[in-house]
């Protein structure tokens, strides 16, 4: 339980930030306590720790001031941007939150295809500006409302366009990083005057390697105030859309091709993905299943129930379906890409559907996913408004995803659905995408849970899935895992030491960067 902030500390915050940019009002603090971001159902509660204060720093100097004051008064800190993730807010008492909203500048270097962004610039805002120049940022699967910087510096940042736009962690160029000790650590080319922001590695070793801990950087390793992110080609005019919600009315994208594809046989599906990746023709890819499609198509829970009962989507998409988008620079290129695409799909027994298969809605879902990643998040929330994942969330090969990770998560889900611990949406609600022309595949299996459901119990799915993954030797949370308890302890030791290096006063609210510190203090290792 947090103690109220001391008057002296509060006065110092006011002096550093201005009265309008700090609040200790209980009402304000409460609005930063509730969390229902992605994955929240796995945590099982909606009210996290109430912060002791919420600040709105607007510059590097103000961030440093917050850190300084926290260190002086023995407070913790955590920074967030759009905060749309289960552990984005305070996860310990006496935590000062830094809402990075005021830091929202964006500059685009068109020549060298990168953008320098501050934390509160959403991916959607970045995209609308970069498309004017024929460029596209990577959009994470969570959607355009997510911060671009956050996924680059603090999580992995995979999404449906990753087949072309990589995952955000790999798109990171130069970074301006305020360590918990308040120092400005610059990565890469920022270490040379007049060089610019184009490179994030070096000089010499790349400290990008120490930005994250066990599961990203949930505020543990500091505050990232600016980062440069790679941009990718977007062939054609900026995406245009008019109309009204929920489904709007997208203009056709010239020189492009958008389809749904279904395979009945998973082995053939895996083969197809391998070949499609190697063919280097995809610009968007995303797999989901009938349950997720129903979520995307319905606008209310009532409609969801109607659609589910009708069973139309289950009939076509019950075994999973893919959305593929090809965007080409010329008609010749498009012709080639389509030919290869159709060849691979046909040879692997896939069936191609027009995206209007279920009317205009299904087309809008496809095109808006392909360009804006809008509907993925919806499929994780509708109709229950909370979700978690049945691990493993693997990030290795297509074979591992299909043959090993998917079966584990399907089984775990089935067991939980049978006892109404989570929503029964057809068992298979597995999201997949291949990244970087098929060099990796990301798989995560959404489980939808309503927090009101008396039988709801999704946390077990995460734990069970994790246990089975480890049993079978698969990494379960966006990455590979250490092999043995000894290895786990060693990795944790290193992470703990790195964090101690960055955070000598121990002021970071470091939820996930040091999982074992509570168990084994660093000094004893």
């Amino acid at each position: 339980m947090s103690q109220p902030i001391s008057e002296k500390a509060y006065d110092e915050f006011v002096e550093a930030l201005g009265e309008d940019n700090i609040s200790v009002d209980p009402g304000v603090l409460e609005t930063y306590t509730y969390m229902n971001g992605l994955g929240q159902a796995g945590i099982g509660i909606q009210w996290m720790f109430r912060p002791i204060a919420v600040t709105l720093p607007g510059s590097v100097e103000e961030v440093q001031a917050v850190l300084r004051i926290c260190a002086r008064y023995g407070l913790k800190f955590k920074a967030h941007s759009t905060a749309w993730w289960a552990l984005a807010l305070a996860t310990c008492p006496n935590c000062v939150l830094m809402d990075m909203r005021r830091m929202n500048n964006l500059e685009i270097n068109v020549t060298d295809s990168f953008a320098v962004t501050e934390p509160y610039v959403t991916a959607g805002e970045t995209q609308v500006e970069t498309m004017k120049y024929g460029l596209n940022p990577h959009l994470v699967g969570a959607g355009p409302n997510a911060s671009n910087l956050a996924s680059g510096t603090s999580m992995q940042g995979t999404g449906g366009t990753s087949v072309r736009t990589s995952m955000q962690e790999r798109n990171l160029l130069a970074v301006e990083w305020i360590t918990p000790a308040g120092e400005v650590l610059k990565l890469g080319s920022l270490n040379t005057p007049n060089a610019g922001w184009f490179c994030g590695d070096g000089p010499g070793p790349s400290l990008r390697g120490m930005m994250r801990g066990a599961a990203g950087n949930m505020g543990g390793n500091g505050v990232f105030t600016r980062a440069a992110l790679k941009l990718y080609p977007w062939y054609g005019p900026p995406y245009e859309c008019e109309g009204t919600p929920p489904f709007f009315d997208s203009s056709d994208i010239p020189n492009s091709y958008l389809r749904y594809v279904v395979w009945d046989d998973r082995d053939n599906e895996a083969e197809a993905l391998l070949r499609l990746g190697e063919a280097e023709i995809l610009d968007y890819n995303n797999r989901w299943a009938a349950g997720a499609f129903t979520s995307a198509m319905s606008i209310s829970n009532e409609e969801y129930l109607e659609m589910e009962e009708k069973g139309e989507y289950k009939e076509k998409f019950g075994n999973g379906f893919w959305t593929f988008f090809l965007n080409a620079e010329s008609e010749r290129a498009l012709e080639y890409k389509i030919k290869v695409f159709e060849k691979i799909v046909s040879e692997t027994g896939g069936v191609i559907y027009e995206t209007t298969i279920f009317g205009k809605r299904s087309h809008e879902i496809a095109i808006q996913n392909a360009v804006k990643a809008v509907w993925i998040g919806k499929a994780a929330y509708m109709p229950t408004s909370a979700n978690t994942g049945a691990v493993p969330f693997s990030y290795e090969t297509i074979d591992q995803g299909y043959k090993h990770a998917l079966p584990i998560s399907l089984d775990v889900k089935e067991e939980h659905i049978a006892r109404d611990k989570m929503l029964s949406e057809g068992r298979d609600n597995c999201y997949m995408c291949i990244d970087e022309d098929g060099h990796y595949m990301h798989i995560e299996h959404a489980c939808l849970v309503d927090m009101w459901e008396p039988k709801g119990e999704p946390t077990g799915a995460c734990i069970k899935g994790a246990a089975r993954s480890m049993e079978q030797g698969i990494g379960f949370f966006y990455c590979s895992m250490p092999g043995s308890p000894r290895d786990m302890v060693m990795y944790s030791k290193y992470m703990a030491k790195i964090q101690r290096l960055l955070d000598p006063y121990s002021i970071a609210n470091n939820t996930t960067t040091r999982p074992y510190e509570l168990i084994t203090p660093v000094e004893e290792l």
């Binding site: 270490n191 184009f198 590695d201 010499g204 080609p233 290869v340 698969i474 990494g475 290895d487 990795y491």
Partner: protein, 489 residues
């Protein structure tokens, strides 16, 4: 006192070298890093042996300098910076552990060379990424652990590519695997049984020690294997040239073609470097140079995969069309050199002897850095000015421009050709040029030798944390001390 007996016990007497003449081979290289002879050279075969060596080094406060490529070396990173060093020559670790066509991956030990790797990859229709005509004895692991740029920029997603996973023996003796190789499967075979292929770049958990170790000149760890992303080998492949008097148009064309992701190989050379790649004799180099335009964009178009011919055709047509927009043309021949000849000599090849950078005058000093491609003319002008002012012939500077990170940056390289005799006297020019480049904003992402003295004074905070990591991963400071920003340790 170096405990030779202990080393012999670990790896066998045959592989512990204390012969002064052999030791002398490791004492210096073709850089301006001060010469220093190691006390011993050891040549392990397995990572377990390396772990033992590191443990021994920790016990006895020894300094280890990893070397994986054969001479001539040019960077100074493998020259000991302290007395009493033990060179760990990894060339015996020359196994290709695994090649997997399905997952487009190869797992190689440090002694594996590019030719060796590509020969095996040829059998399964894959290609490795290559730096520009590397030496025959250049280590693949050595190159990519030092973030050497490669010639197919569309596959250079991240500066650390094509590295996926790695195994690193850290300075504290712990053997860490990164990326997909981290586990949970204890052995790589265990991982492969469940579909793993050591491909994932991020791990263990989500920290990335491989990234920290890359570019560190062995200051944190010794790499015992890397898994490398490979790509499909083209069934159809043609090399084209665009020649120009002026670099500006080639820069614009490069940006545009990069944006369209059409070519495979793509880089810009000046006529001198182009000639050096293809001719071995100085007079023939000069003769070829005469026939060439000052600047040449070298590019290749490949057809591979499902419909190779069709892929080739559309890319070829689109590239031609793009180049024509600038009033230029894509040539199959330049200065009498056919694209097919260039392809056979350079693409995915290692340099025949003598190494191409020593052909013109016998020796070479490299100055390279990262910048934006659009800024390279400024740096080229600076190099020429610096040459003139230092009494070095500007016409003896080879230029190589290689887009990296899919065009976000550019490796800009000046090869200062000189004779073996005159090389020492060129140090002043080298230092002056290095300083000017730094002042202009050239980024030494790999700060070898004197470049570390330029970069690190401006990077106090970075240095603090790099040293902090050194204390974590190499608490005994056994790993190649005195390099980069670790000079005071």
């Amino acid at each position: 006192m170096i405990p030779k007996k202990n080393f012999k016990k670990i790896i066998g007497s045959k592989y512990v070298i204390d012969d002064p003449q052999q030791l002398q081979d490791y004492a210096s290289d073709n850089s301006y890093v001060s010469s220093r002879r190691p006390e011993l050279v050891v040549r392990p075969r397995k990572s377990e042996e390396i772990q033992e060596i590191v443990k021994l080094a920790r016990q006895k406060n020894l300094k280890l300098v990893p070397v994986s490529s054969g001479p001539p070396r040019f960077r100074g990173d493998t020259v000991p910076a302290t007395d009493g060093a033990v060179v760990v020559d990894l060339s015996r670790m020359n196994r290709i552990n695994w090649i997997n066509r399905r997952n487009r991956v190869a797992v190689v030990e440090p002694g594996v060379t590019f030719d060796q790797l590509q020969q095996e990859l040829d059998k399964v229709g894959l290609r490795s990424m290559f730096p520009l005509l590397p030496r025959g004895n250049k280590s693949v692991v050595g190159a990519f652990m030092e973030r050497e740029p490669f010639t197919v920029p569309k596959y250079a997603w991240d500066l650390g590519d094509p590295v996926a996973s790695s195994e690193l023996v850290l300075g504290d003796g712990y053997c860490m695997r990164t990326g997909g190789g981290a586990g949970p499967g204890k052995t790589l075979e265990d991982q492969r049984k469940v579909g793993g292929a050591q491909k994932s770049p991020l791990s263990p958990l989500t920290m990335d020690v491989r990234r920290i170790a890359q570019g560190s000149q062995g200051s944190y760890a010794i790499c015992t294997w890397l898994s490398l992303r490979c790509e499909l080998l083209p069934e159809l492949e043609k090399v084209f040239f665009v020649g120009a008097e002026n670099l500006d148009k080639l820069i614009e064309i490069s940006y545009r073609l990069m944006y369209l992701r059409l070519p495979d190989e793509m880089y810009i050379l000046n006529s001198l470097n182009f000639a050096c790649l293809l001719e071995k004799n100085p007079s023939r180099i000069s003769a070829l140079q005469e026939k060439l335009p000052p600047w040449i964009l070298v590019t290749s178009i490949g057809g591979y995969g499902e419909l190779p011919a069709e892929q080739f055709n559309y890319k070829n047509a689109d590239v031609q069309k793009e180049v024509e927009k600038w009033g230029m043309s894509l040539e199959e021949k330049i200065g009498g050199i056919r694209g097919s000849f260039y392809r056979d000599k350079v693409l995915r090849k290692t340099s025949e002897d003598p190494y191409w950078k020593t052909r013109f005058k016998g020796d070479c000093r490299e100055v390279f850095f990262l910048t934006s491609l659009s800024r390279t003319p400024e740096f080229i002008e600076t190099a020429q000015q610096a040459a003139y002012e230092n009494g070095h012939d500007p016409a003896s500077i080879g230029v190589y421009l290689q887009l990296v990170m899919q065009g976000t940056g550019c490796h800009c390289e000046f090869d200062l050709y000189t004779s073996l005799a005159k090389a020492p006297g060129m140090e002043g020019f080298f230092n002056d040029l290095s300083q000017r480049i730094f002042n202009l904003g050239g980024y030494y992402s790999r700060p070898y030798g004197v470049w570390s003295e330029l970069v690190y004074p401006y990077s106090d905070t970075f240095v603090k944390y790099a040293r902090g990591l050194k204390d974590i991963f190499d608490p005994g400071n056994v790993m190649n001390p005195g390099k980069l920003c670790f000079k005071e340790n």
